[in-house]
Symmetry: C3
């Protein structure tokens, strides 16, 4: 059987909010070491990969590997019924066709159980090679979300250009053009406000803003976001989940033809 | 003539918000002892009954019984023009065709009057027998509202089961099933947080969640809600209005056939 | 060249929010003494006039008079990308076809530039004669906005009647009628809460509530609004911008025929 307990339902709630608009159905893979998920978005352009390590849970038991197909929208509906500080327990039989969510209020006065039906979902796990990237940028996730939203009012494509001094986000469209530059900055009181750039070589790549804005829905998961860029490799947008794992998004660059910018 | 004065407009504002989605038009009955209203909802399934005793008003004068037909939506529009802490006075002539609302701001700098046209509405007062119920549950109204909303995302029908230990709300639908249990709990710092169960015999009844969710719009009126249940009797959902009266809703149970659950 | 710098982007943001729903396209006129704008609303009924004096800017340079045609909606989109406390600089070449907005965050870590395309807009500047008005009312702008909104739920037309004691706003419609009176009041702790009436002779004029409600979108610009009324002259609704200028709206009275009220 599978049983996993988290002291704060809010983490799972945020995870589902971050994934449900990109992915309809996906298999949650349970193993003794982790609860994980890998899925292409509905338009088969972006890849979502999530991992929560078993040692991050208050309690975790997984007798044998399980693949649980879930509709993320339904799972999100169910999780909305949990208060943020409810204790949450996931339970499934090895051969069952449902996953049970148990919510207990902190004061023990209310307890709820929701049984969601499992689905059969065809999926293949893609191997994600462990690569060294030309540029790695760690920056405040709220700032990243805001820039994606702001540029989304100007154009469809964002050009990300990383130098050792900073990262520049550019877009253009019918009404004009915009450039937003965030400078490397480690001299901050709170590490969450730092912008740190690790550069092998300068890189400049274009991406569809629509997906960047979807990824940014994971902002509540972490105060910082990590961007990894290399020419001819998908961009990685990674949100670390404290002491437990991460939620990462992968998106292939657009052909970097200046003429194309803002026309998509 | 009829004249009634309340020191806080907010009470009437909340009352109208609680009723206006269920009932379009209704007669407000004025007598020397109370201002009251009784009406079926627009689909003729649920009954709404409101009573404000005259001694709860700052001033109350009713020379002879009056029946004032009002469109609740228009009355709500008018009340939205009052600030929460405005002093509010209702005025009507015995033979007039309008009701005047007078709003005075606490600092006396602004005063407004709104004259609403009265309507002729056919209605019959139903006698509501004073019955003893199998189960009476007093619980935090916010908790009740939340449970109704949560289960509304799962199914159409809620099964309420009361035992001496607590009340269980269950629902099921296409995506799965849910049970939420609230335990009896009188050991609380604030009496508003208590859940108290008065049980003659265990009872288990099904109701349409759509109506339960409409009733729960009265939540701002009172920190507690009282549920009264008996086999073959309508459920009573009662919100007490401090020192003045109550707003109550009545809803007949659904035929308690398990096969039907979630299919309506 | 033209270059103007404001220490707080929020002022320009509020200005655009106040104008963009009334006016689609308009020319910003730059001169060494001021940045100003005058435009009829899209239905050619109301006039909008804005002036920001050059000495109110942190920095202001205007080598020769410039007329910059802008789509206010696009300009608003661009300004939404500035944080409220960003330092904002406007830049344009004398012969260029674009206006550049430069936003710098207070901590200097983020800087953005937006280049908006200019448009050719035909416009004629109307001379607004400096008149003495029968009545001038200075009152809290929030109160004015609230009254316009409240009466908008009752009717289409507001009758403003000023006497030495106060200003009365009246409206009527299908559901009834309403009168809201604000009394002259100078005995206040905070001057922003005062209502001051300067009266040459009592005046009573009717206006379309739709426009009054549009003007009231300028409320965030100033805690007080100034109304100027004279028989046969357009109403002036003026919001003063501290130490810099003003945003004013002009609206012709409706023919003051009581029969017409609430029918428009």
């Amino acid at each position: 059987m599978f049983e996993a307990r988290l002291d704060q339902a809010v983490l799972l709630k945020k995870l589902l909010e971050a994934m449900k608009d990109l992915v309809n159905d996906a298999n949650f893979e349970c193993s003794p070491s982790a609860l994980s998920l890998q899925a292409m978005d509905t338009s088969h352009v972006a890849l979502v990969a999530m991992q929560l390590r078993s040692d991050g849970f208050a309690h975790f038991r997984c007798d044998r590997n399980l693949s649980m197909g879930m509709n993320l929208n339904n799972m999100s509906k169910c999780l909305k019924c949990a208060a943020n500080d409810d204790i949450i327990t996931l339970k499934a039989e090895d051969t069952g066709d449902s996953l049970t969510f148990l919510f207990e209020s902190a004061n023990q006065e209310r307890h709820s159980d929701f049984e969601l039906k499992l689905m059969d979902i065809d999926s293949e796990q893609l191997g994600i090679p462990d690569t060294e990237y030309s540029a790695t940028v760690k920056m405040p996730s709220g700032e990243f979300q805001r820039i994606a939203k702001d540029l989304g009012t100007i154009g469809d494509t964002v050009l990300m250009s990383v130098t050792k001094d900073g990262i520049k986000f550019s877009s253009s469209g019918d009404i004009g053009s915009a450039n937003i530059t965030v400078r490397q900055n480690t001299n901050v009181k709170d590490q969450e406000d730092a912008t740190v750039i690790d550069l092998q070589e300068p890189v400049s790549l274009s991406f569809a803003l629509k997906y960047i804005n979807s990824f940014a829905k994971a902002t509540p998961l972490s105060p910082q976001v990590i961007l990894r860029l290399s020419k001819d490799l998908p961009l990685v947008v990674e949100y670390r989940i404290q002491d437990m794992g991460h939620l990462s998004f992968y998106l292939a660059p657009k052909v970097d033809d200046e003429d194309e910018m803002g026309e998509e």
